[in-house]
């Protein structure tokens, strides 16, 4: 304890300097994260029209949690997460291992897998809107070659979610691939040489060396991917407006609807609190639980 204190006093000046450097970021964090979060929590206890909010305590929470659409949206979001995260992670890892080899055209391939990341989601939505258009869209045209009929991908509640998931995987896998490429570059060579001498097969190498050693990268990318699955909603605005009948609606878009089409700020605040809790839960689970299980 005393040792610690002494350390603190000697390091006081450098600590102050560090805090000074952190201060600008802290201002922005306060303005755009802490304050709105607290404001949302406060607002979630009020209901009524925007200009005449009434204190309603926890009533609004009961209302929202019992709401059919809310449940559907949460379920959708979980499906969306399960659909996008594992697949894009595995795909990203596969691409990274494949493109990590020195071969002709590897930088061209890297670029082409990475480029969907650079396109804004709104633009991606417009491109895929054309792909999914019934009859003369790219996908239907392609499927016509195999004698398939027209499919209204976005107009059918059974296919709309799959369509969204495929699009997001296409957009994000290349982004995660970059992280894996960076992770692969840092792996120690000698382990592989040892494995080669022992006569390990490529898959065994992946299973026992590459995969475990990439775990820190996987953890990081997984957090990004999971939060993305709650954050990526811009495409809904262009493609489906959450329809048909909320089949593609996600939590963040639902918040947008509650706030800016229904002007129900109280309900939107409750939903925001739910979103914050989910996000904090995911992050805590990752850093407090998974983080300890990983060998760095």
């Amino acid at each position: 304890m005393t040792a610690k204190r002494r350390k603190f006093s000697s390091g006081k000046r450098s600590n102050l300097f560090a805090y000074g450097l952190l201060f600008p970021s802290f201002i922005f964090l306060t303005m755009f994260t802490f304050y709105p979060t607290l404001k949302s929590i406060q607002l979630s206890f009020y209901s009524g029209p925007m200009t005449r909010l009434q204190f309603s305590g926890l009533d609004q929470y009961k209302e929202v949690l019992a709401d059919e659409i809310f449940r559907k949206v949460i379920l959708n979001n979980i499906l969306f997460m399960l659909g996008t995260v594992p697949t894009s992670l595995l795909l990203a890892m596969y691409l990274a291992i494949w493109l990590n080899k020195r071969m002709a055209g590897s930088s061209l391939l890297r670029t082409s897998f990475f480029y969907p990341t650079i396109i804004p989601l709104i633009a991606v939505a417009n491109i895929w809107l054309f792909i999914y258009t019934p009859q003369y869209g790219l996908l239907d045209n392609f499927l016509h070659l195999f004698g398939a009929g027209d499919t209204n991908w976005l107009g059918n509640p059974n296919t709309v979610m799959i369509a969204m998931i495929v699009m997001i995987i296409w957009k994000d896998a290349g982004f995660y691939m970059i992280f894996y490429l960076a992770g692969l570059q840092n792996l120690p060579r000698d382990v592989y040489e040892a494995a080669e001498i022992e006569g390990a097969k490529p898959f065994q190498m992946f299973r026992h060396i590459t995969f475990p050693l990439l775990m820190p990268t996987t953890l990081f990318v997984m957090i990004v991917a999971i939060t993305n699955s709650f954050k990526n909603v811009d495409h809904l605005y262009i493609m489906t407006k959450g329809g048909p009948d909320n089949a593609s609606n996600l939590l963040l878009y639902h918040i947008y609807e509650a706030a800016f089409t229904n002007w129900d700020l109280g309900k939107a605040a409750v939903l925001t609190v739910v979103l914050i809790v989910i996000m904090l839960g995911i992050t805590a689970f990752n850093y407090l639980y998974l983080d300890r299980k990983i060998h760095y």
């Binding site: 200009t51 659409i69 009859q135 209204n152 976005l154 107009g155 048909p244 009948d245 089409t261 129900d264």
Partner: protein, 423 residues
């Protein structure tokens, strides 16, 4: 570095402050005017022109035209600036946002501000969404109805008379069957959009059958009335039974593109698209009333000019002046020509400008004539939520997720729940 930046900003501010106080010799009244531009034609330029003309006539008033995107985005911006304690003087917003704006106590009643003759010159069909009882709350500005667009060349090809569009539901189906080629693969007979504004399309079918689906005071809805069921059955049958329309949900924005590219021979769409179709169709097209069931019918739609509350006296005066200016017959006529929206005042159709245009392009008259059979667009308290409930259930019926009766009954129950506090 930071210090430098800060001082630079300060200097800039001082310079700017100097400019703004030095330039204005006399006090100008400034009014903010919000406007949605993502609807029909190149309206931003037209509005800029109108503002310039107005400022020439009134040198002591400055109008800041602020452009939102869609109606919904404009509404969001207006509400946000109101919340920030900086409401605009005027805004063009959906006529059906009336109840939301009233609920939040944001707008001024305009009945006492204008002469009766002036208000009476607006079409009754448009005033329905602009007033409650005899209190007028906004002025109709760019208003539309739904009309039938049909491809005359496709009609000829199918052996139909291109000058005789379908007049009733039976004919619509019959013609639709003749116009559908190769099971819709090459051409559909008809497309009715079912995203975004499906409640609006539904209203047309309900009005043609019997009546509208809500009460005038915005407190009741009749989503599961017998005539509403009949309307929904018919809509569903077009794709499911008669196979003259794609099944499932049809995107609002792609319907005009489908029509222009010959993917569909007929479409139900807003008159706000008339100028767009006229400029881009490379075939002969016609516009007509929506086919009737027991009667003709279509809801009105579009935007009104709202005057906001609690303004300083000078600003209020200037805003009223600009409202009058915007709705002068000549200007209303020009607006209708530029965009395809229906001119909102009877006297606009008396102007030489519009008379001449209508002679060259009679299609522009169809919407006005249909006004006789038009009724208000769905507007209730908690409008956003009620609209969404109904929209969701229409889609759920059209995609076969729920049967007609059950879907409409559920929509009715949920809407009643939302409207309960207003009874």
């Amino acid at each position: 570095m930071k210090g430098k930046l800060l001082s630079f900003v300060l200097v800039l501010l001082v310079v700017l402050a100097g400019c703004s106080s030095g330039a204005g010799v006399e006090e100008k009244t400034e009014i903010d005017f919000w406007f949605p531009v993502a609807v029909g034609g190149d309206v931003a330029n037209i509005v800029d022109g109108i503002v310039d003309d107005f400022e020439k006539e009134n040198p002591n008033i400055k109008v800041n035209a602020k452009y939102g995107g869609s109606y919904a985005e404009t509404m969001t911006q207006v509400m946000a600036s109101t919340q920030g304690g900086n409401p605009p003087e005027l805004a063009v917003l959906f006529s059906i946002d009336l109840f939301t704006l009233l609920e939040n106590d944001l707008i001024e009643e305009v009945t006492p501000l204008f002469e009766e003759d002036f208000l009476n010159d607006f079409y009754v069909g448009f005033m329905a969404n602009s007033s409650i009882g005899d209190k007028v709350y906004s002025l109709p500005f760019q208003r539309s109805t739904i009309v039938l667009y049909y491809n005359k060349d496709a009609f000829k090809e199918a052996g139909l008379d291109p000058e005789a569009p379908p007049e009733n539901w039976d004919q619509l189906v019959e013609y639709g069957k003749k116009l559908t080629k190769n099971g819709g693969k090459d051409q559909w007979g008809l497309e009715i959009p079912s995203t975004g504004y499906q409640y609006w399309m539904f209203q047309a079918l309900a009005l043609q059958t019997e009546d509208n689906i809500m009460s005038e005071d915005g407190k009741e809805v009749y989503f599961d009335a017998p005539y509403a069921k009949e309307a929904m059955d018919f809509w569903l049958s077009l794709g499911k039974e008669h196979k003259i329309m794609p099944e499932g949900v049809i995107e609002w924005a792609t319907v005009p593109s489908d029509f222009l590219s010959g993917k569909t021979a007929m479409m139900y769409h807003t008159t706000g698209n008339l100028t767009n179709v006229k400029n881009n169709a490379d075939f002969d097209f016609g516009v007509s009333f929506l086919p009737s069931n027991n009667q003709y019918g279509s809801p009105t739609g579009g935007g009104n000019i709202y005057l906001f509350k609690d303004l300083p006296e000078a600003n209020k005066k200037a805003a009223i002046k600009f409202m009058k200016f915007l709705t002068e017959p000549e200007r209303v006529a020009q607006w209708s020509i530029d965009t395809g929206y229906v001119a909102t005042r009877e006297s606009a159709y008396e102007t030489d400008l519009l008379k001449k245009y209508v002679e060259e392009f009679p299609a522009a008259l169809v919407a006005r004539e249909q006004l006789e059979y038009a009724d208000s667009e769905l507007a209730t308290y908690q409008n956003g939520e009620v609209q969404k409930i109904f929209n969701d259930h229409i889609q759920s019926i059209l995609t076969g997720q729920s049967p007609v009766d059950e879907g409409l009954k559920k929509a009715q129950e949920k809407a009643v729940e939302v409207l309960k506090p207003f009874q």
